[in-house]
């Protein structure tokens, strides 16, 4: 190997090391939510396959959050910015929230108001069926939430984006578990 080649290898290795340092240390993917409006924000799955330090992206899904852009409006405002851990992930959650559900950590807004009990979810039954009006996705207004990230569900003309996001979560450097489990840095919310 001549000097020039050795130098190229060294520079390449250095660039690679820097890029790996920028990528999340967990090597797992994460969701990114970009707050644009309550009805029309976006969610995307970001991951780093194998040793490749370059971020790969899923399709971007339309997503809603809140019915006000005032983060501190408990029960109305969209969710706060920043990194989130996750408390758990379920395929068939069956409580007030139903179906595919990912529970987010509590987080404070800019004035310190805490937003709690927020999920990534849709309006569907625990078995992924529909029961209108509470558990079906029929209208654009179904993207509104009390603060949760809402994705669409199929059955009434909307794509099954909750199922799509769920697939990427499990199959592209995501997580295989179901149930209560803490996952570090599983979501980043941009302003």
């Amino acid at each position: 190997m001549n000097v020039r080649t050795r130098l190229s290898v060294l520079v390449g290795a250095a660039i690679g090391a820097i890029a790996i340092a920028v990528a999340p240390a967990s090597a797992h993917g994460h969701f990114e939510f970009h707050r644009t409006s309550n009805l029309n924000s976006s969610l995307v799955w970001v991951y780093y396959p194998g040793p490749n330090p370059t971020a790969q992206y899923s399709p971007t899904w339309r997503a809603g959050s809140g019915d006000s852009t005032n983060c501190s409006y408990v029960g109305h405002g969209w969710l706060p910015t920043g990194w989130y851990d996750v408390w758990g992930h379920w395929d068939h959650y069956d409580s007030i929230i139903k179906g595919i559900a990912t529970w987010l950590q509590n987080k404070a807004c800019g004035d310190g108001t805490l937003r709690t009990q927020l999920f990534i979810h849709s309006k569907e039954l625990a078995n992924w069926g529909n029961s209108c009006p509470d558990y079906c996705f029929r209208y654009v207004s179904d993207y509104y939430s009390n603060g949760c990230i809402k994705l669409s569900h199929s059955g009434y003309g909307f794509p099954d984006n909750i199922q799509d996001a769920h697939w990427w979560w499990h199959n592209r450097d995501g997580f295989s578990f179901h149930g209560s489990n803490t996952v570090n840095n599983a979501l980043y919310v941009y302003s």
Binding site: G75, T81, C109, D111, Q117
Partner: protein, 403 residues
């Protein structure tokens, strides 16, 4: 009269435009008259002017009381667990004391970072709330109860609040009991049937109204008639205000969007009247907590501004709509409280955060609004972290004034 078919194309267009204009005017007239049969609905966009001097009413910010009284508190009034679901500071009926929520961090939690990035583990203690009472005459300021927040103060001095079962911990829901004390010298009596995420809101006569926060930040309004006597008043709803005599509550239902508002008889939960917000055609999707009821009018915060609803036997009507100017307070006109009469209110105006600041912290202004002229005077502006809020007592019946 000349038949339309014999008119020129230009004249036909003119006639068509005239007909369409007439239809549009009739439609607007119908929409404007939805308010009530007798009074036209007044819809205006608020004009905000900067002003100096003390605001009317009572405000708290950064550990101070301003407005009708000036005082320094022992701690900053703030209530991160409830925001302004319930007032952060509540004056007693005689106005001589102020019960307020405070918050003490046990470990700093940077909202930009996840808990794991800060080394915070499940179960780690993060903070604790604490209720305090401030006496305006003596300046004395003492603790009501540890690990407690969200007070409702009845006209006879009976105090209700939430007492936590534990401090606020990471990856743990903060639950507590609803407790009631006839005075500060008596022991708290638990009224709730089991610990939950409660927020005490207001007394309606001898019935206590409180929230239970459920999954997805769903708010249920509960009524407590005594120890262990707990009932659901309305699921998925906000308490806008309690009627002056304490027998009814205006609740905003959020199960659908647009939602509705209902006058509910507190004693038995029956609904006296309901108004669907969508057919008003004013863009109102929801009404929220933090409103005010005086005589037969309710000032309610909504997604478009402050709505004034008329309440009469068996019906609710939209009387006035003071629309928010997104250029000034993009994040809403909040906590509108009638001040002195039903033509003036004090409120809060929330400006949006700087999009380049990378933070959710906007600024808040104390507002004094004249509903007749649709003008608000902004006297004080503080960053969100100062917790600038009106201090008001939503419990009814009250003794002497609504704020």
């Amino acid at each position: 009269m000349i038949p339309i078919r014999r008119l020129s194309r230009r004249r036909k267009t003119t006639v068509l435009v005239a007909i369409m204009s007439f239809v549009a005017l009739v439609a607007v007239g119908v929409a404007q008259a939805i308010g009530s049969a007798s009074t036209p609905l007044a819809v205006r966009t608020v004009t905000v002017q900067r002003a100096v001097g003390r605001p009317p009413g009572l405000f708290v910010a950064s550990g101070r009381v301003e407005g009708a009284r000036n005082s320094t508190l022992a701690a900053k009034a703030s209530s991160p667990l409830s925001g302004w679901i319930a007032p952060v500071a509540v004056p007693t009926a005689d106005g001589g004391q102020l019960v307020y929520s405070t918050w003490r961090e046990l470990r700093h939690d940077d909202p930009k970072l996840s808990w794991s990035k800060q080394g915070i583990k499940p179960g780690d203690a993060l903070a604790t709330p604490m209720l305090r009472i401030h006496d305006f005459r003596s300046g004395r300021d003492k603790v009501v109860d540890k690990n407690s927040f969200s007070a409702a103060v009845r006209s006879d001095g009976t105090l209700a609040y939430v007492r936590g079962t534990d401090v606020y911990r990471a990856f743990t829901n903060y639950t507590g009991d609803v407790v009631v004390r006839s005075s500060l010298s008596t022991r708290p009596v638990v009224w709730s049937t089991e610990p939950a995420e409660y927020v005490v809101a207001a007394w309606a006569g001898s019935t206590l109204l409180a929230y239970r926060i459920a999954e997805g930040e769903k708010l249920d309004v509960l009524a407590f008639d005594g120890p262990g006597r707990q009932r659901l008043l309305m699921a998925d709803s906000n308490l806008v205000a309690v009627s002056p005599d304490g027998t009814q509550a205006l609740l905003a239902n959020e199960a659908g969007m647009p939602g509705s508002i209902s006058v509910v008889n507190v004693a038995d939960g029956t609904i006296a009247a309901t108004l669907d917000l969508g057919p008003l055609n004013q863009g109102i999707l929801w009404a929220a907590y933090g409103g005010s009821w005086s005589d037969d009018l309710v000032a309610a915060p909504t997604n478009v501004g402050i709505a004034v609803f008329g309440i009469s036997a068996g019906s609710i009507s939209l009387e006035e709509l003071l629309k928010n100017d997104p250029g000034t307070f993009a994040n809403g006109l909040i906590e509108p409280q009638f001040s002195g009469d039903t033509k003036h209110i004090v409120a809060r105006g929330d400006a949006a955060p700087d999009p380049n600041a990378g933070s959710d912290e906007g600024s808040t202004a104390a507002l004094e609004c004249d509903l007749t002229s649709a003008t608000c005077l902004a006297r004080t502006t503080e960053p969100g972290s100062a917790w600038l809020h009106p201090a008001y007592n939503p419990s009814r019946p009250s003794r002497g004034g609504s704020s």
